[in-house]
Symmetry: C2
Subunit: 201 residues, 2 copies
């Protein structure tokens, strides 16, 4: 059985939970609170030297970090990761987009606004993060205006990766009301079989 080391309120960790639920896989969830430094202990660094969650324990002593690499591992050979060469690469394209151009703004703005005190010095980062977050959402809106899903004709791990923080972008101060295609796509993702929500707290 898989074991996931994760912080429940983290979108990156939620990605793994959502896919495991949708695959109908049994798993054990080991809560690790990244907000209180539990990902920086010697014990956790022995599991992931980069000190981040989620981490998937594949077998005894074998650990896989990086949320999107975990999605690819779990989805390998299933309908959640297209097998056709170009669609396989386009799935990765959107997952790299998510980690480079989306998550560092949409997720970090949410972290600062939702989890740090209102007088924390990092609040000063918000205007730039929100601006860059909107740029990423603009790219998604343009793409989804002509499509039902991020890649091809069906729901995939590209949708899971981007849904995780997009649907809670308002937590970081972004107004999703201006995005018609994204809003429709969010409802489409929520209507998928075995969908489970991101825990609020």
């Amino acid at each position: 059985m898989f074991k996931v080391y994760g912080t429940s309120v983290s979108g990156n960790c939620y990605k793994v939970k959502l896919l495991l639920e949708q695959l109908g896989k049994q798993y054990q969830w080991q809560e690790v609170n990244s907000l209180t430094g539990e990902t920086r202990t010697p014990e956790f660094l022995a599991i992931n030297a980069n000190g981040r969650v989620p981490v998937l324990q594949i077998e005894h002593g074998r650990y896989l970090p990086e949320s999107n690499a975990i999605l690819c591992y779990l989805a390998d050979g299933t309908e959640f990761w297209p097998a056709e060469r170009r669609e396989k690469a386009e799935t990765l394209q959107w997952m790299f987009f998510e980690q480079y151009s989306h998550e560092p703004y949409v997720a970090v703005a949410r972290f600062i606004k939702k989890f740090l005190p209102p007088d924390h010095p990092r609040q000063a980062e918000l205007p730039r993060l929100v601006e860059r977050g909107y740029q990423a959402l603009d790219v998604m809106e343009k793409h989804l205006a002509e499509r039902r899903y991020m890649v091809g004709q069906r729901y995939s791990i590209a949708d899971i990766a981007l849904f995780a923080y997009t649907h809670v972008a308002s937590d970081g101060g972004m107004d999703l009301g201006r995005y018609v295609a994204i809003d429709t796509w969010i409802e489409r993702v929520k209507a998928q079989p075995r969908f489970v929500p991101l825990p609020a707290e």
Copy 2:
């Protein structure tokens, strides 16, 4: 024949060039200068709405952005991307590590120090970027201390993705002299068949 839209001095673009050379593929290189705003023109945004290089033209009117997704596309079915499920995911793990925990520090420090004027306000970002860059290099050093390559027993696209900016980390003010395993690995990468260097200017 593939066409690559790229900036020659960019490590992300160099990844694609290096793999194409090592695969022995013919390709056309379309120089796009991201430093002078050529990735923000309406013509280029029609190719990649996210306004970044590299982009691979797969066929007429079909474009694939994101350097690491391009590497996966080109390496699919070759020895450069392991086919075994766990190694395939570990390859992606290091490529996501590169884009999230390494490139935003090691590459951005290089960009600021090498390509911006010495009195540019962004020079103020350097201390933090160098600190985070060292954290990423520490993770690589620990991993490479026990291995010849990033994944498994052979050179792969994980090595290409991480080599691109690691071997020029000194451009951003990081001292590679303290990393014995990384230094040996850099020489190992440079000794691969059909290796080509990153253009200096």
